[in-house]
């Protein structure tokens, strides 16, 4: 297990360096001058321009620039936004909100996705199965922002079950509806994945053996079918964090949530390239770390993985 962890950690390093290099390269090496964009296209005095270039290390050769950017990223020195606030502070304020939103979405999609997928897989071809399948296709096809508007309109405005926008401080109660919207697409994927996997495992030899040796149906389902069906679901949840981060930008925009997504969204609208790079890099770091965690969890669930 220790060897496996070490190997995974080592594999993570090139991915982390590669991804940050990619982001940095795309932003600062593509045509178009980010410094010129800072001034909104108006001519700048040479002194100001030189100062700005020094501030973003653009007067250095590319590799040194990248090294300094990495150092700043790892020490969470993320620069200053247009409003004069350190980006790290803004991120520290926004991050807990988005984390709460993501936790709600993950809990929703995992609990309901696995539950519905299990029932559908056990009753393959029946009414519940086909209706849930159609429903999942519809959920995948409707973009998150449209789902957000529908939920906001139906549950927030018409029915009044939830507040249509999130109040200050983003309490847990206000975040439930946005969390469900954010998790809906992944819920559909988890459901379909669980269903396929359960239906496959139902015909597996070990399930027949378990039934033949007289175990109760509930024990067969819980221990033998469900546990083995969870392996692909756990893998998916790791990759899904990336989708949630993309979705969070949209969901936070629709429900007016002061999270990382809206921080990024505002930075995009204002053309604050350095802030965008800083926030995206932190998100990539979170994503890579989360996938490492998922890989370790995966090895715990399935001992065969460790020796592969």
């Amino acid at each position: 297990m220790l060897m496996y962890m070490l190997r995974r950690l080592l594999q993570m390093l090139p991915v982390f360096f590669g991804a940050t290099l990619l982001v940095y390269f795309l932003v600062f090496a593509t045509p178009g001058d980010p410094i010129a964009a800072l001034s909104g296209g108006k001519p700048m005095s040479p002194n100001v321009e030189a100062a700005l270039r020094a501030q973003y290390n653009l007067d250095q050769p590319f590799w040194i620039q990248y090294g300094l950017y990495l150092k700043n990223l790892l020490t969470l020195d993320l620069g200053v936004s247009f409003s004069g606030q350190p980006v790290a502070d803004e991120l520290a304020r926004a991050f807990p909100v988005t984390a709460r939103l993501a936790v709600l979405a993950l809990v929703f999609e995992t609990v309901f996705g696995v539950l519905f997928g299990l029932i559908a897989g056990l009753r393959r071809g029946r009414f519940f199965d086909s209706s849930v399948l159609v429903l999942s296709l519809v959920v995948i096809a409707v973009p998150t922002f449209v789902l957000g508007f529908i939920f906001q309109y139906v549950f927030g405005v018409e029915l009044g079950w939830a507040r249509p926008t999130v109040g200050s401080g983003a309490p847990w109660g206000d975040l439930i509806m946005p969390g469900v919207v954010l998790g809906l697409v992944s819920f559909a994927y988890v459901l379909r994945l669980t269903r396929t996997s359960v239906a496959e495992n139902m015909n597996a030899d070990f399930v027949r053996t378990a039934t033949a040796k007289g175990l109760s149906r509930s024990r067969v389902v819980r221990v033998h079918i469900l546990r083995n069906s969870l392996i692909p679901v756990v893998t998916f949840l790791g990759a899904d964090l990336g989708m949630l981060m993309g979705g969070a930008i949209v969901t936070e925009g629709v429900f007016n949530i002061p999270g990382v997504g809206s921080l990024l969204f505002d930075a995009i609208l204002k053309g604050e390239t350095p802030t965008v790079v800083a926030v995206v890099s932190v998100l990539v770091l979170v994503f890579v770390l989360a996938n490492l965690l998922v890989d370790l969890l995966y090895a715990l669930l399935d001992p065969r993985i460790r020796y592969a």
């Binding site: 795309l26 409707v142 508007f149 993309g246 949209v250 925009g253 995009i268």
Partner: protein, 337 residues
Amino acid sequence: MPDTQHTTVPGASEAPSTPRTGKISKRRIEHFVAPLEETPLQAVDSVREDSEPLGFWAESWRNLRRQPLFIVSSVLIVLVILVAAFPQWFTSVDPRSCPLEFARMGPQPGHPLGFTYQGCDIFARVIYGAQSSVVVGLFTTIGVVLIGGVMGALAGYYGGWLDAVLARLGDIFFALPLILGAIVIMQLPAFRESRSVWTVVMTLVIFGWPQVARITRGAVIEARNADYVTAARSLGLSKFGALVRHVLPNSLAPVIVVASISLGTYIVAEATLSFLGIGLPASVVSWGNDISSAQISVRNDPHILFWPALALSITVLSFIMLGDALRDALDPKSRKA
């Protein structure tokens, strides 16, 4: 046969008729299994020798035609493509003429869906908006399949250091989720000023190819060790020739399925980028832009948002359904069931 339980084998019944010397057993050989002619097995086992055996693609096509999911989705897709190619066949109203006096009005004669916040005809905009979604989806898919397919096939087929390098490269792009990566690119000054359908396609291809590469790699690895590849190689076909002639055609099925489903997700991604204001420029008539501009009045006039959203969802749904139907038809494992 009068008595099924004591039938004799054909040779044995003739035996007594010929004169023989010595002790011949008069005992009839007992059979406890019904003779072949009386079982339904013959019907099952019968092979029509005159009929040509169907190839993989012909058999898949036969399976596909029977699926209602396939029929529904392909009819919808043909309709969407027709609308995208010839919008003028479906409406004579100009989607760009937006007289403000009609703003937010309900359905009128000749304008079945009413008007937007700006006074544009919603029906005409929904019809003309199909084009950009279809173009983005189609060309992104083509680009992704070309780049991802080549990368994945080379990595899976040759293995070794090439595989290691390409796999790491794919991992790096994987660490940057589609929407996040697209945001980084599309907000750059260079892209901001020259936004078009093609910049969106390019961005989605850059961050979409690793997925197809992974699928192709897996399929190629599965196919490259098959007996027919060994046979072709031992008959003198070059290594690259075997890849093109035998391995690639046999790894196509999963790629086609993923391509169809991804086409739907690329359309959603384009709409999401347009919604964030960094996708297609506002001058392009597209569903994503229309949904985005409808959000300011969503509380009072939800119908302005509803129609482009419905058109978008139905289009995406039909591509995903097509992918599902293809998966069922192309998977030999599910075929016998």
